[in-house]
Symmetry: C2
Subunit: 509 residues, 2 copies
């Protein structure tokens, strides 16, 4: 035990300390090594700095590490959840990686020879296969832990992890690493329609691609039923042991969260609470050309040029047409569904939102949109990156006036923060956009977002899972619109370009 008086050597002048005599000896010392692995609570890469991170601004490894362990039968959407979560966390600049036991299995050459993907491999009565599966899961975990120890931040263990016993082993292994937190995410689905759809999706996956579809489905069903025989949902006993877990039931319709601790786990669960699989379109565009664009200045709040106005007018016609087409497709699908045996009710007309920033050039771009057709909102979060001292300058002016800033920016555009009060970095913009991403995931409406170059890059980076190094250099020209349609395994992207002469939009391959 250390001398408690030591703890007072920082009180440089004892006489200044009120009631100093009342300070009793303490049984536990406060002193900690200076560079211990601290568990920062709020750890936002690039937004929060400490003396430690200031010295290494590009390494974000000061927070605690998180191991996300998936649990759930096959065809319960685990991979979908895992991919989505990984995409979101990477976008928030946490170094995140998925460790998939199935891939490891398929990559293990010897096992492939033994035909490891046919259902008998998954039969719980098949003892040797069971042992191999156990081993694979633990190998996969070792790989994950190794990666975290080498600097990774969030590792996702993507496997069925279907028994209490297996989960206990995983937890024990992780707890050997003192700074690791473990979050179990169980995906449960008892909606037969969703299940059937998921199973059919699986047939296009790596295990079944080359098989006859009917045979493949039969094999997959057997595989699932083999798992069902031994499957144990996260239990009361695990709850009593204070396990940190979250159950997602029927694609987020119901959520059970237990003992959630730590900033990152909370963020993961809030994100997973907010998603849906409804068929919809997210349209993205920059504003029409502004008078500042025309002369190459950045920032500012200039109005549209004549060209920009024409783009805006055409955009309102084009998007209205797309709204009509979407409704038409929706009604066609309804009609063809109604002719089959299942009775379906007439689908509601989807709301169509239009979001812009609060700057003139985006507001003017949507001036021609009909308020009766579109819910138009102007949101400050969508404003362009604020360039501080460099506002309303051209890049060559910046190079001359602030040569050091210019070269700093070139070195790392993602982390670079513009000088002057209020100046922002890409990361600042990511965190300002974050609530909108959660909202976009939550809502089922169609939407058009009219925003700015940097914000558009950041939005596209999220939806298309763009590597962070590439984000600040993505080509997102003016007068080009993007249509995103979230699908089960990916986001579908289509592009159109505005042809000024023809005053119309044309698809880009």
């Amino acid at each position: 035990m250390s001398n408690p008086r030591n703890s007072r050597r920082y009180l440089s002048n004892d006489s200044d300390v009120e009631d100093s005599d009342e300070i009793e000896p303490l049984s536990v010392s406060f002193q900690r090594p200076l560079f211990r692995n601290r568990k920062y609570s709020l750890d936002l890469p690039g937004i929060v700095t400490s003396k430690l991170t200031q010295e290494q601004p590009l390494k974000c490894g000061v927070g605690s590490k998180l191991v996300v362990v998936m649990t759930g039968l096959p065809a319960r959407g685990k991979s979908y959840i895992v991919k989505k979560l990984k995409r979101y966390l990477s976008w928030l600049q946490y170094d995140t990686k998925i460790f998939n036991v199935g891939n490891l299995r398929r990559n293990t050459a010897q096992l492939i020879k033994n035909g490891s993907h046919s259902h008998s491999f998954f039969d719980p009565a098949n003892k040797s296969a069971k042992k191999v599966r156990e081993q694979l899961a633990m190998d996969c975990l070792d790989e994950l832990i190794d990666w975290l120890n080498k600097g990774g931040r969030i590792g996702i263990h993507d496997a069925t992890n279907s028994t209490v016993e297996r989960r206990r082993k995983i937890l024990e292994r992780c707890q050997r690493e003192t700074t690791f937190k473990v979050l179990f995410i169980e995906s449960i689905c008892n909606d037969n329609e969703v299940l059937e759809k998921n199973m059919r999706l699986k047939l296009s996956g790596p295990d079944y691609r080359k098989m006859d579809p009917e045979k493949a489905l039969a094999d997959f069903r057997k595989r699932v039923s083999n798992y069902e025989k031994v499957y144990e949902t996260i239990s009361e006993e695990e709850e009593k042991a204070d396990m940190q877990y979250c159950k997602l039931i029927n694609v987020g319709k119901k959520i059970i969260a237990h003992n959630i601790q730590g900033y990152l786990s909370g963020q993961c669960i809030f994100y997973l609470m907010n998603f849906n699989l409804s068929d919809r379109q997210i349209w993205l565009s920059r504003h029409g050309e502004s008078t500042d664009n025309a002369i190459g200045k950045i920032g500012g709040d200039s109005p549209l040029s004549e060209k920009g106005r024409k783009f805006g007018e055409c955009l309102s016609r084009f998007i209205f047409k797309q709204k009509v087409l979407f409704r038409q497709k929706q009604m066609d699908e309804y009609r063809s569904a109604s002719t089959s045996s299942l009775p379906t009710s007439v689908p509601q007309v989807k709301n169509f939102l239009v979001w812009t920033s609060m700057l003139k050039r985006t507001i003017e771009t949507v001036e021609n949109f009909d308020q009766r057709e579109f819910d138009i909102m102007h949101i400050r979060f969508l404003n362009e990156i604020y360039a501080g001292l460099c506002e309303e300058m051209s890049h060559s002016e910046i190079e001359i006036k602030y040569p050091e800033e210019y070269s700093e920016r070139r070195k790392n555009k993602l982390y670079y923060r513009y000088p002057g009060m209020g100046g922002e970095s890409y990361l600042d913009v990511i965190h300002r956009i974050n609530p909108l991403i959660v909202e976009l995931e939550r809502m089922t409406d169609n939407i058009l977002i009219v925003t700015h170059q940097v914000v558009l890059r950041i939005l596209l980076a999220y939806f298309l899972d763009v590597e962070k190094e590439k984000v600040p250099n993505m080509e997102v020209p003016l007068h080009t619109i993007y249509c995103l349609q979230p699908k089960a395994y990916d986001t579908e992207l289509k592009r159109w370009k505005y042809d000024e002469e023809k005053d119309d939009f044309f698809p880009v391959e």
Copy 2:
């Protein structure tokens, strides 16, 4: 049915429309009244504007209304949850009001004559009392609905609402109002220690204040057990009927959320997921005096004055002493608990975080803090309100240079946004601080936040539930520190002032 061709009158030039012939007649018209009551998804007062809100910037009534219906036995912390939620939502500028059935009961003079607060009133066998209780709950709901219809935003029905039947009635009543969404929040507690504590707290409440404590406790226990006889937790049947609900079990240790829809409900649940009752201190302070403060300029990024530096040095000594005192109290409590029969383990030393903004004057203020004792972080979200064109001006300079801005600001300091790119309003700052509030609620550590005048007002407004009109005019002088201790029914506030001559802090009454 309307003529579908109508829907194309906004396509001003038909020849521009690609594939226009493919547009099929639609069975449902798109046309909606221009000023229908729209259900905006993302509805952040002062941050999101629409053509509707632009015309009435101070009324935030365009979003859908939310009715929060509490469910739970007495002494399950319903009032605590309700108060906290109301405080948070009001702080986010949603007009929120609690409608407490107990208060209505107590205010109903006739009932008080009949001794309505003794346990027999709550006996389910007491038919006439049951009818009166039913009626009171529905009257209270009518009051709530009336208030929402007159412009309120979120009404909270604070009652036990302990049966499926009662909840069904409430839901039916609310569904008659087309724009109302209903969120049920059930508070469940099966931790006996917490329960006992809650019951004893009740005795200081309005029903029992004047009774003998032992008699009061006995009466209250009977009252609870009367409720227990008829209490029905939110059931599977209600779940199947797609009820939007959230169960909070043991003060947020476990959470079950079902069918959560809408932006507001999601926010409420995320907030409620993140709170704890641990004994801790939140210290708040502005930075030491800066050279700009000394000459009356706002904004900017000036360093500390000599006076400011002295304050910072003394602050580090004072807070270190407070850390020692907190530990001492913790150990005293541990020791006195150990002498009683219950075995307790030695409590861990609490982390002590220090957060500052990223501006020189706050970073310099904590320069003397020992990194081995405190986790020091600099967070951009804590920066002072950005005054745009008015940065680094004095208020009298603003009055001369921008007289219109000056008078606009005086009219409504809360909604006023500084002119120029990036300029912020109080509401902008509230939304930038919001993730930090959730984080402060989540964490159990002690913390010192060194920030700026406007941010400090906003933080204090949250913790002390300050009326929004008063927020921009709160007195928060330099060299004054605030200590907040969240308690079951309130936040305890203490203040200290720095005495420059004595170079020490002294408590302020």
